[in-house]
Symmetry: C2
Amino acid sequence: MRARSFFISTLKEAPADADIVSQQLMIRAGMIKKLAAGVYTYMPMGLRSLRKIENIIREEMNRAGAIELLLPMVQPAELWQESGRWEKYGPELLRFKDRHQRDFVIQPTSEEVITDFARQEIRSWRQLPVNLYQIQTKFRDERRPRFGVMRGREFTMKDGYSFDRDQQGALKSYDKMYAAYQRIFTRLGLTFRAVAADTGSIGGDRSHEFQVIADTGEDLIAYCPDSDFAANIELAPAPCVIEKREEPKEAMQKVPTPGREKCEAVVELLGRELTSSMKSVVLAAERFNEKGEAVEPQIVMILLRADHDLNEVKAGKLPELKDGFRFATDAEIIKAFGCKPGYLGPVGIKSDIVVYADLTAAKMSDFICGANEEGYHITGVNWGRDLPEPKVADLRNVVEGDASPDGKGTIRLQRGIEVGHVFYLGTKYSQALNATYLDENGKPQVLEMGCYGIGVSRLLGAAIEQGHDEQGIIWPESIAPFTTVICPMNYSKSEMVREAADKIYEDLKAAGVDVILDDREMRPGVMFAEWELIGVPHRIVVGERGLKNGEVEYAYRRTIKEKQMVKTEAIVDFILNR
Amino acid sequence: MRARSFFISTLKEAPADADIVSQQLMIRAGMIKKLAAGVYTYMPMGLRSLRKIENIIREEMNRAGAIELLLPMVQPAELWQESGRWEKYGPELLRFKDRHQRDFVIQPTSEEVITDFARQEIRSWRQLPVNLYQIQTKFRDERRPRFGVMRGREFTMKDGYSFDRDQQGALKSYDKMYAAYQRIFTRLGLTFRAVAADTGSIGGDRSHEFQVIADTGEDLIAYCPDSDFAANIELAPAPCVIEKREEPKEAMQKVPTPGREKCEAVVELLGRELTSSMKSVVLAAERFNEKGEAVEPQIVMILLRADHDLNEVKAGKLPELKDGFRFATDAEIIKAFGCKPGYLGPVGIKSDIVVYADLTAAKMSDFICGANEEGYHITGVNWGRDLPEPKVADLRNVVEGDASPDGKGTIRLQRGIEVGHVFYLGTKYSQALNATYLDENGKPQVLEMGCYGIGVSRLLGAAIEQGHDEQGIIWPESIAPFTTVICPMNYSKSEMVREAADKIYEDLKAAGVDVILDDREMRPGVMFAEWELIGVPHRIVVGERGLKNGEVEYAYRRTIKEKQMVKTEAIVDFILNR
């Protein structure tokens, strides 16, 4: 490609509403252009990168035996009603009526339609397993679209669905996709982690998020540098950090702590460590009588060592909370404990309050907690002696330094951007839509499913969050809109330069390099800055001075300040061997 | 590809609601599957063909210097309001409100958004010309979707838009696209015509439809077998077929023609030729007073030789009708002529009725027409003698045998399916959206535009309408989901067959042939019927009997009954040289 025949459009400044570096750089580099909130045009430069991502995904999906199809973007409401998501899905689901007043949606995902496809198309066990995917535009009407293509409303996704005879088969399909995703993100040149993730209401342990590592990520990942362990913080098991509960040494004592509602403030006043203090969190789960009317909620008190934080996903798995919970209101707390928040504790409370202690909290002794009386805490509290032994569960987020659950080292935390998700679905949708096949005995059996998503357009943003510097984007080679740029000095005026640049351009093209020749005759500084912003990995500068020595200048985007002279006749091999 | 690893799903019968052969065959061959009215899933087999079409279009668009981008499918109402199409576009335009009650559309076409893009991105004459295109899903909420992918609601389109400094440049861009379209449809292996088409309200003469020739087409094309002339019937000039008007020979005479309302019935009664009778068509154009209130419409009487038909597009260009017209109602006709339809004529009518005669009608003499009195006609009517000379215009459809307007032969008619359209837009959208660039003198100038569409998914249907027989689809090689199928006899049981089939398969793949090996071990008759239905161009049958003579059987889909034995070692070259 020659720059004059292409569409390059860069900006000095990002618009004020670009709220994250990848969005700023994509707009400045002329990759995308905003049309409406969360709705972007892919400019020619951006589309090249998007297509490269799509092609890598397509190749690896095909290699893994998945088969591509294309489901409609517009889907009839009936199928969404059958699965129950017509009602359950929030306003993110764009619903509309056609001219005949029939209800439709613009698909944000396609479980319903693919399950409907399968129940019509899959008749026999002989047709299984099968794995179908598509790469397609989706729409999710986010309340607050942000972060450019990372949380847009219109976006490109690869969504795939596997169908199997039984759970064993489904888990095999899952593992295949897991391996394919490893290959995909490796080929995309990204630093990523496959992270165990919550399975929500499906249950089971087969759900992994693929997270691109970036400090700006919304997700927190716990991993062990000395082993394979990696999990979304929501799911990472947090160990008990106290080996053995000490015998009580102190007597229980009520102490005035006026205005000290936080554990930090209490221990500061008392001259104690934060780890000697117990944090109380009060949750509420709705309850209903036989007529279905809401009655008083179940109050659950969670106790954590004061330096630990509640993990809500883990709390949500407690029997009392598994059907949904929320934080208790101040009014509910006052009613249950006779005291406002800030001075709560588990001592002497009503018997209908359920108390859970985190693994670590349950091993504490001589601890400090609220006295359930405004302005007072209690010190020297001990389980068994001063209050009943609590129910115990893992209820906190892991922190750096916690032991890895595989016993192979200690946990570290990092931030990530979710770009892929593999999920064992079981029969959630096939049951709802009655998607069955006939087994060897001619008996109908419900299909076992898995679903596999990749945020194609989001990957562009994630790659930039991971790779950029002050000059602009640093693309992985496989996603860069072009891998090599030739910058000639005085292209039109110097015949020597023009001939050399043209020859290198043609030779690189012939060698299969995705090269662009900048024939726009801009000032060198402006031209270099533009290609650094766009983030093309390899830059070749062709100038008379170098050519007189039979050389051109090479620079690698990641180390753009380190220039190197390369013999003109060797430059093609040099690029091919980088 | 091996058939077992692919998704093949054929049907013996088409569903009852499939109303055209291409739709029936696409559904039976497992190319598409209906999800809702006018909304289809592309099954793996169909998607392969769709992608092949897309790729050919993409290659040729790029070769012609056009640059691909991707505009959003969801577009804000504001731009459509700016162009005026928010109001003007009928209910085919899917309008919806997002969760914040803002108005949006799902794009059926993208003139507004690309013009908005251009007005932001194109600043200087130095950036011109530029031609931008996309290949993308569109939605048009057809009242009565039909013909499968030929008139669906959700469909894939290539839409492109050129921007130029002036009309001369725009016409150059137009010609480039015209040439690119010729290459595209030629490469797609279709018999087609580029046909001059109506430019509607834009004016000018640069609008061509690309029509795939098929008897089932909705459009009628006039062409000259001895020259390049081809035009949509709406636009083809119709000559006067009477060289010179004869002198009057008869006296005018009122004759009773009770119950004879059609010209055919009148001439039958009178024992005359149809060509001696004049047909009257009465049109009405709304008129408004200064307050904008509708007043009596302008009545226009069109006279045609009775064997000719009115061309409404031509009528719409008459000065009295150019702002829109309709057929007059019976009540309006009775009011204007004092007589019901069936007995109307131009003799003795009120002076405020405008009369136009078609070129041929104006040369008629001693003709028959209605007497404006129920049950009566007049014979021996002559222009100038019995009534004023009429205004004259080309107002009829051409018929077979008419002289070609280029004087090189006679017109023939054939039916076609519109699959592409190139259109010189001028400044229609750029003016409305104020899309300007700065010329060499720094003065803003309105951009000159062209638009260029190809119905990508419709092409699948058109190709089948053009190519099919009783067995099924006959794909052009370039669109076929696979170009070659290997059908082994007893694949699993005969080692000889398996080895030979596998080797041919691997060799063909290595030679770049898009081949599928049918390893499903079906009965030969069923297997052959399936591939004939799917329409793969080349079939190789590998069986023990042939192999013992060192041969395999070859058949070409278009002449499927002619089988031919080919030496096994020569089959790859044979296929490559077909």
